[in-house]
């Protein structure tokens, strides 16, 4: 009896694991270079926080929060954004890929375009930025007055993941829209990076129109401010009730539904240039 000759096709998951593994090994093999880029990514996190620090050294409270409380908002939102940037930041390169005619190469392979883009430049150094937020969280959590309950512990753990999902969905929507815009990449930057910026400050300082845009259209205030209000037991400002923080996971799921639609229709819209 001969062995069956049909080789089993490796599962898709296995393929991704191999690709990601090689990316990670490649980056870690140049130790000094990795350490330097990791440190510079961490530096970005520190510099980003400097705005909150400078403002709160000039005034005692900012949007109703003191320095530690505002730092909590920043750390939660920034951790979510840094994680989303680590996984989905590569989608930013779509306009370049389109212009250079390199997207065709991704389309002919038997793995999804999104999967290939996400794994194509998985930059471990971006963890440096996330680490700054983790350290900041560890420093400010003992400083702020939180009445710890199981629900609040759950909220603290789930918020960075929800933030990663919400900002990740923004990267995906923006990526999908690029197939139509090409030259107008900055239109979507204002929502992706504007969302990241808006999410890191107390939502109460945003003018009402922006507050509702960055809560109900781009749900950035749900990645840091609303959960922080719940942790601190504070009420929310007009147009931004604190209890929305509990609903953030559901909102994240909803944004991913929209992102999937935008992404799929974007890829289907793509015609290529016959390259």
């Amino acid at each position: 009896m001969a062995e069956p000759t049909t080789a089993r096709r490796p599962s898709v998951l296995h393929t991704y694991r191999v690709v990601l593994g090689s990316r990670v090994r490649a980056q870690l093999s140049y130790r000094v270079s990795f350490a330097l880029t990791f440190l510079s990514a961490a530096g970005i996190g520190v510099i980003e926080f400097s705005e909150i620090y400078v403002l709160l050294s000039a005034v005692p409270v900012f949007g109703g929060l003191d320095l530690a409380q505002a730092a909590l908002v920043f750390a939660l939102a920034n951790l979510g954004f840094a994680l989303a940037d680590l996984v989905f930041g590569q989608l930013d390169s779509i306009p370049t890929l389109l212009r250079l005619g390199q997207l065709e190469a991704l389309l002919v392979r038997p793995v999804s375009v999104m999967g290939q883009l996400v794994t194509s430049d998985f930059q471990l150094r971006r963890l440096g930025r996330a680490l700054v937020s983790v350290v900041l969280l560890a420093v400010v959590l003992p400083l702020v007055d939180v009445d710890w309950t199981p629900a609040r512990v759950y909220l603290l753990l789930v918020t960075p993941l929800v933030g990663c999902a919400i900002y990740g969905a923004m990267f995906a929507v923006a990526g999908g829209v690029q197939f139509w815009l090409v030259d107008g990449a900055e239109f979507t930057s204002s929502f992706v990076y504007g969302g990241g910026y808006a999410g890191q400050v107390p939502g109460s300082v945003l003018p009402p129109v922006l507050r509702s845009v960055f809560t109900f259209v781009v749900p950035a205030t749900l990645t840091g401010y609303a959960p922080a209000l719940l942790l601190l037991g504070l009420p929310g400002p007009a147009l931004l009730p604190a209890w929305l923080g509990w609903w953030a996971p559901l909102v994240a799921a909803w944004t991913w539904l929209l992102a999937a639609l935008a992404w799929r229709s974007g890829v289907r819209h793509f015609t290529g240039a016959g390259g």
């Binding site: 000039a58 030259d183 107008g184 504007g194 003018p207």
Partner: protein, 264 residues
């Protein structure tokens, strides 16, 4: 002189080609403008209506003038020379009978001459029509402001030129390019005016040329500093421009001496 004018005009045409990109940039600068105004005005209101000399209207003026200057100053960085070093094209540039630094300076001024009205003025107008900005009452603020912006654009160019030369020594310029904006943006006063910094951070910022290319032109344009004070601010800007431009020449001379271009 004609060469410089031609180079500047060419760059002006080049940047005016991508209309949709200009529109998208105006939109982004406006969204960020509204975010920044919200943040700064909130701080001014908390402080009781006035903070380091900024009223709510002054804060709005500061933010919108800044949003107008963002693109002409190319604060986000620029890597054209570094790219040409990586590809080896720089060898062709160096063989040309025009000075590398001066020719790119002329081109950068040409770029700014298009970007300032096309990408700078619309967000300023958006801000003026929605939130409101305060115009300076003294007429001298206008010519001095224009001069200050011109020096700021040149200083920004000289800095970016100097930074690009790093590509002669390091293979991967992307890391440096990425770090540029995040280091200069807070120190030049983009997020929070330097006048609001705590003492030690203000001292640190003023030890760098960065406030001279952002905070200073806004101070002069908005009439925060007038007369002799404005001239003093301009003087500091000019000193930084000369220092950074000369440093650029020095580094360029060393860089070209060690340049090895592979192939041909």
């Amino acid at each position: 002189m004609r060469t410089w004018r031609e180079l500047a005009a060419g760059e002006l045409r080049r940047y005016s080609t991508y209309r949709l990109a200009v529109l998208a940039g105006v939109f982004t600068n406006s969204v960020f403008g509204f975010l920044r105004v919200g943040i700064l005005v909130s701080a001014v209101t908390t402080a009781g209506g006035s903070l380091a000399g900024y009223t709510a209207e002054g804060a709005s003026t500061y933010v919108w003038l800044g949003q107008a200057l963002l693109a002409p100053l190319a604060l986000m960085g620029w890597s054209e020379i570094a790219d040409r070093v990586r590809t080896g094209d720089i060898a062709v540039d160096l063989a040309r009978p025009v000075d590398l630094q001066l020719s790119w300076w002329a081109r950068d001024l040409g770029r700014a001459a298009f970007v300032l009205p096309a990408r700078g003025l619309p967000p300023l107008l958006v801000g003026a029509l929605t939130v409101g900005v305060a115009l300076p009452t003294s007429w001298t603020a206008y010519p001095l402001g224009v001069l200050s912006v011109l020096v700021a654009v040149s200083l920004s160019f000289a800095l970016r030129f100097l930074l690009n030369l790093a590509a002669f020594w390091v293979l991967d310029f992307r890391g440096i390019a990425g770090l540029y904006f995040v280091v200069i943006a807070p120190l030049c006063g983009l997020y929070v005016p330097v006048h609001l910094f705590p003492g030690w951070l203000a001292a640190l910022a003023h030890a760098t040329p960065f406030p001279s290319m952002f905070q200073s032109p806004i101070d002069v344009l908005s009439g925060r500093v007038l007369g002799r004070d404005a001239l003093a601010v301009l003087g500091v800007q000019l000193v930084w421009l000369v220092v950074v431009a000369l440093l650029g020449r020095l580094v360029l001379a060393r860089a070209t001496r060690r340049l090895v271009v592979q192939g041909g």
